[in-house]
Symmetry: C2
């Protein structure tokens, strides 16, 4: 969610990468729905200090933020293209989830800015896709409690209190508002807010003799975090990855100096520049839920070009979409926060069409 989590430990090893870790924490199996079926994929740890990345300047860990992250990521891309010049002419797409609702648009914006400078490497940025992304503080806060109530996780009284005391449009959240928000947080009880219907790790997969919990066709194991953590801390794995031998953490605390309250102006700039912009959302995530993405996108007041409709993957409703001028809002049905973990097939269908610049099919085949 917040800055500091590893793109390699989550994105690559548990979501859309070619391999996932078995429950032994030592061996791998193939993810048949890996996104590198349809693209060359780079996983970038950002900011410095996250995952296997590191800096020799300690202030990089404590005084970091949106701006330095965007600039560092851009520098990485330039250097990477110098090292592998055969990719310089390729189309580039940037995707990310959660707080990458900041990172992705900001990196895209940085690329466009530098592309305009003469004598500078031009990066062929074509599109961005942001999943369950934190885009606008006010709209995301509003959407979360709206989701809690409409999904029968919160009481009517809490909802009414939040409606009365939290002014999300202005961002003026009073003390009474906080009290009702805390009440809402307590009322949901001990569920996995990142996938409200998922089983917890301890009851599902670790029961001796039971098969791993499966979320329909996804086979996502809620204990994957533990397996990945074990795997990436094996000395031979770190060596094989050419990583610095270290204790690997899935997330680390980082001191943050700048985080704009809204990324909507940045997204507007990208749309104006013709960058294909997709906002996608796993619809069983309660942390940055579809309501948050909906409120955020609605705030852009873009005209509708393709009216809301289901889209299909493997003869099932993969989710729903609405096409605005320059932006597509698309849901992935039955997926939590980490969309390709829970619904790998649907996620691959979605991203394949994103790369083609097309909308996924309107009818079951």
């Amino acid at each position: 969610m917040w800055p500091g989590c590893s793109s390699f430990g989550y994105g690559a090893m548990q979501e859309l990468g070619p391999f996932r870790v078995n429950s032994d924490g030592k061996t791998l199996y193939r993810n048949q729905y890996a996104w590198n079926n349809v693209a060359n994929v780079i996983f970038l740890e950002s900011p410095a200090g996250v995952g296997f990345s590191y800096s020799n300047t300690s202030s990089d860990y404590t005084k970091t933020g949106d701006k330095s992250t965007a600039m560092d990521s851009y520098t990485f891309l330039l250097n990477w293209l110098e090292r592998f010049p055969q990719y310089k002419t390729r189309d580039l797409f940037i995707t990310g989830e959660s707080y990458a609702g900041h990172y992705v648009p900001q990196l895209a914006d940085t690329i466009l800015t530098y592309n305009k400078l003469t004598n500078h490497t031009v990066i062929n940025l074509k599109g961005i896709a942001v999943g369950n992304g934190w885009i606008d503080d006010n709209m995301c806060g509003k959407g979360m409690y709206e989701y809690f109530w409409t999904h029968a996780l919160n009481s009517d009284e809490t909802h009414e209190g939040i409606q009365r005391y939290c002014d999300f449009e202005s961002g003026n959240l009073t003390g009474e508002c906080s009290k009702y928000q805390s009440r809402g947080d307590t009322e949901i009880g001990s569920i996995d807010i990142y996938d409200i219907y998922a089983p917890p790790c301890d009851s599902a997969a670790k029961k001796p003799g039971s098969s791993p919990a499966t979320n329909y066709d996804s086979n996502f194991d809620p204990c994957s975090d533990d397996y990945t953590n074990s795997y990436l801390n094996l000395a031979e794995v770190q060596e094989a990855l050419h990583a610095k031998a270290s204790v690997w953490y899935p997330c680390r605390g980082v001191g943050w100096t700048d985080s704009p309250a809204t990324i909507l102006p940045t997204i507007n700039r990208l749309i104006s520049s013709g960058i294909n912009t997709w906002i996608y959302s796993g619809d069983t995530d309660g942390r940055v839920p579809i309501t948050s993405s909906r409120y955020s996108v609605n705030a852009l007041k873009l005209p509708v070009e393709t009216t809301w409709r289901p889209w299909y993957s493997s003869n099932e409703v993969g989710g729903y979409l609405v096409g605005y001028k320059g932006l597509t809002l698309i849901t992935v049905r039955g997926a939590g926060h980490m969309v390709p973990s829970y619904q790998p097939q649907r996620a691959l269908t979605m991203i394949s069409f994103f790369l083609l610049g097309e909308l996924p099919p309107e009818f079951t085949s």
Copy 2:
């Protein structure tokens, strides 16, 4: 949903009964979460003509309705108690789902009425539990489209049209309202409205070589309908059940003569008579969703005695509940319309506490 479906084919064979049918359509396996772990359970086919039940009077099939169903069910109970008098002194609880939102309160009301007559068998009715029940036409209609929108199955435009043109409070649904409702029905696409995140039968279980789809710990197979249909049409099964040899149908069309628009006055009478009343709801059902149950119960304007909170089953959030004076509204997390099919363990925990007249635990143990 509508009258005419078999309590034996659904309730007993796919939901809460001791056995479920294997995918061969010929053999059974034990349901470890059967409700007869905690009670003696009778499954009643109603009205006459449904499932294996039949009548020698053809008008029973074409001119039936709520009143005759309640009276016939009551007559059945009296006769059954005469035949098995050792049960006459036992506590009785009545449960049912969907259109049984009519049947269950009406049968309970009939029992209370006849209990007051002197020289009449007194039936010790203690409580009723109605799951995803059709209780009030207006509130159920309102709740369904509200659920579609808040679960990102419908567009903002459709929601706004329904808000504008459908007056659910008065039940005055204009032609414009119908147009927007149809649009909402189309927008959801080809999903299982009775469990919005469930896979369809054809893709999940019938794929050769794949294991049956599992909804986390439930192991519910979306093709169960087919297996049950095959099983109950085997000649040897019909003979063993002492049923009349016939073509068995899961549901049949019935001519309905009376169906009040609301059952809320009946529920009010039951509450006044001290009948413990539970309204439960699987929260991933889109047909009679939790929003419908919430609106219906809110219309009773009962004072809250136990504020909304999670309840636990096997160290997981089984759902949420709110206790009103005389009535408990309780959800089952991650369950569709047929609650014990999708979440058998949570359903058994819930019904066990219902039988005890207690609320399920507030904290994980």
